[in-house]
Amino acid sequence: MQVDSLVVDVAVLGGGNAGLCAALNARQHGAGVVLVESAPYELRGGNSRHTRNLRCSHDLPTDVLRGTYPEEEFVADVIRVTEGRTDKALTRLLVRESVRCPDWIGRFGGRLQPALRGTLHLDRTNAFFLGGGRALMNAYYAAAARLGVHIVYGTEARGLDVSDRTCHAISVRSDGHDQIIRARAIVLAAGGFESNLGWLGEIWGKAADNFVVRGTPYNTGTLLKQMLDHGAQPVGEPAECHAIAVDARAPKFDGGIVTRLDSLPLGIVVNRRGERFYDEGEELWPKRYAIWGRLIAGQPEQLAYSIVDAKVAGLFLPSVFPPVSANSIRELAIGLDLPPDALDATVRAFNHAVTGGTFDRDRLDTCRTEGLTPNKSHWALPLDSPPFWGYPLRPGITFTYLGIKVDETARVIMTDGHPATNLFAAGEIMAGNLLGTGYVAGVGMTIGTVFGRIAGREAAAHASL
């Protein structure tokens, strides 16, 4: 559709989970809405296409959530994984509002299912989308179309005309043509800057060349940069992000879920020099997997290797790429291009330091090492049963945490401390308000849904003034 000099109540910039929730809620509150998605139709939905669940608090079991996940526990989880680097008021708002997320999803034809097999820790805390994130996005997009949200694809929002804390116009480019949208209220939901290799390079230097971008190539952070330039208050550190260990053989962009590896806590992880560098068994995997990307980023050449033996081979979800396999550690080292002596020594020292105990993958068990630097706190079993498997790993960046500060109405806060008049933010672009560091599985979609809804409601309210 033509957006040339379009005048509209609410413009939502970004067609992922946060943007769709904002658009749907704004529309439900009576506003005329245009949703601007920079990807083409086939790739719509941003990183949300790759997600699979959303963390939500509940005081009673439901058909898809076992037991209870009280508000206090969820809040405590966020504070713990972020080491306190979070806006506590916003966290509490997030958790309170998360209770209503499953209902919201159902309202628009999204379907939920009991937790996927093999994700034993999550069936109490996370509501899984039937068919995953892309299926949910399809449902939201269909609902948006039904409700009369104007959707444009392949249209990138490139510039914001901002003065006096107010956005007067948005310039977008579609098919090579530049156009202007004027909106009474604007919701920024265009993701982080994880796909912007240049920006990553400014922060990480040459190391960024070795990163894998797990999701959409469209999150270039253009609007984020614009807003920061226009005086929006930044939140979070540039180098903080959700980054996991992915198979080094993954495609540069959009590899999604299948390139992640869950074998790390069940064996040892070594770097290019064949040395261990972190406690693989520090915490239950859903609470730790998101820091491994940054850990590997700090290693030589941004490479690491997860090594397991036959005893644990069936205990983690398969990866799409086959492991390098060998019958001895030395052989494995050669297969992985690691120094055989060093790897051999590391494994011997590790095996020697294992103190026994009872192995239990699903709990913080008593299998640990003693006297090593670093020790392995849980699930420490000697590596002694061939065949040995090794997976080469690289940092896979999911999304960046440096973002825009917002208040409880999802309004953008400027550097002078005052809120913007008509600018709101939701999703990755403001996740840094809640995540100073660390992550807990599923909270990203919660942030997008909760703040997307708030932003939509507030934007519609502002547009009707």
Partner: protein
């Protein structure tokens, strides 16, 4: 398959995904099983983040459809008889019908057809009962034999699986030995087949395109299947009347054979025509050209059977009856001849795949 095994987001859509999660390598019999477990509901294509234009280019329904069509040929005999049904959509059934027509004409006693006395509705003046029984009985027997042969070979292959790559996450069992298939597995499989449980997910009907869902596919199939069953019952009852009680056709309109045939015929007319219409509306990516050809041929033959049947029933007292009867018999003959080589086999293989699925599920639950 490897991508699906590593992703698993589609797990709750249907049995195919839990089934494929049991292995890490997939060989011929495994694929025959999985492809026939798939009912082509379409959900997984649009949920997949790796579907085209992603570089992985995964299209689960389309790929399974192609494998499935291959499996029909693999288990049929002789194989080359299946080729025409996969290639030419409407020509093959028409040719077959034409051939059958010639047979019928010849049988009706070259000329005797046109000398039938005043319209009495007596079918056996056109084609003697004995010849009808022999011709159709033999054909039917042939069809059933080939179908049974295919079913047995399929079941033997699929039952044990290959056990390849059984060291799969969450499944430490060794599948090299065939799991004992307790009869308990047949009931849920039968239920699924008779209700077409897998043509919908959580109450939402099949997907024809992204977020386009139509419940008609399932209902048209019900009409077709139960219509066919009723027509079959009608013929069986008539055979019983004739041989058991000596009551000869034509039967009164209110009689059991005619009622069964009429009701069944309505289903067998609306159902296939409905399915043919729906398939034009469906996303091509969900199927495969060979598969489409199979579907169209069978649907057309069934609708034609029903249409000619109604013509005979309605005009049976007229002087056109002989021609109509011959037409109807030709179509039925064509249908019987095509039965083991076309789409009809899908019901058997899918049902058997479901039985295996439930047997494995019981194994898994029993061992847990």
């Amino acid at each position: 398959m490897t991508v699906c095994n590593a992703c698993r987001y589609c797990e709750a859509y249907c049995p195919v995904f839990p089934a494929l999660e049991r292995q890490t390598t997939f060989l011929g019999p495994d694929l025959a099983y999985l492809s026939n477990l798939c009912h082509n509901c379409g959900e997984c294509l649009y949920a997949c983040p790796y579907a085209p234009p992603h570089e992985f280019g995964i299209n689960v329904p389309g790929t399974l459809a192609a494998i499935r069509v291959g499996s029909y040929a693999a288990y049929s005999w002789p194989r080359r008889f299946t080729a025409p049904w996969r290639r030419q959509r409407i020509w093959t059934p028409l040719l077959l019908v034409l051939g059958a027509l010639l047979v019928a004409l010849a049988v009706a006693g070259g000329g005797g057809l046109w000398q039938v006395a005043p319209p009495t509705g007596d079918f056996y003046r056109v084609m003697p009962h004995g010849i009808m029984v022999v011709l159709f009985g033999a054909t039917f027997l042939m069809a059933v034999t080939v179908l049974a042969g295919g079913a047995i070979r399929f079941w033997r292959d699929v039952r044990a699986g290959t056990g390849a790559g059984s060291v799969a996450f969450g499944n430490s069992a060794d599948r090299a030995s065939a799991p004992p298939v307790r009869t308990g597995a047949s009931w849920p499989a039968l239920r699924d087949a008779l209700t077409l449980r897998h043509l919908q997910v959580q109450g939402t009907p099949c997907t024809d395109a992204v977020e386009v869902r139509r419940r008609w596919r399932r209902w048209f199939h019900h009409l077709t299947f139960y219509g066919f069953a009723l027509c079959f019952a009608s013929t069986s009852v008539a055979a019983l009347y004739h041989t058991g009680f000596g009551w000869r056709a034509p039967y009164p309109y209110t009689s059991l054979p005619v009622t069964l045939g009429a009701v069944g015929g309505i289903g067998l007319l609306i159902g296939p025509l409905g399915l043919l219409t729906l398939r034009r509306l469906r996303d091509d990516a969900l199927g495969t050209p060979d598969g489409d050809s199979l579907d169209v041929s069978l649907a057309a033959l069934l609708a034609l059977t029903s249409a000619t049947g109604f013509a005979v029933m309605i005009f049976r007292q007229s002087s056109e009856m002989p021609v109509l009867l011959v037409a109807h018999l030709s179509v039925v003959l064509g249908l019987f001849l095509s039965l083991p080589y076309g789409k009809f086999v899908h019901g058997i293989y899918r049902s058997l795949a479901l039985v295996k699925y439930y047997a494995e599920e019981r194994e898994r639950v029993g061992r847990a």
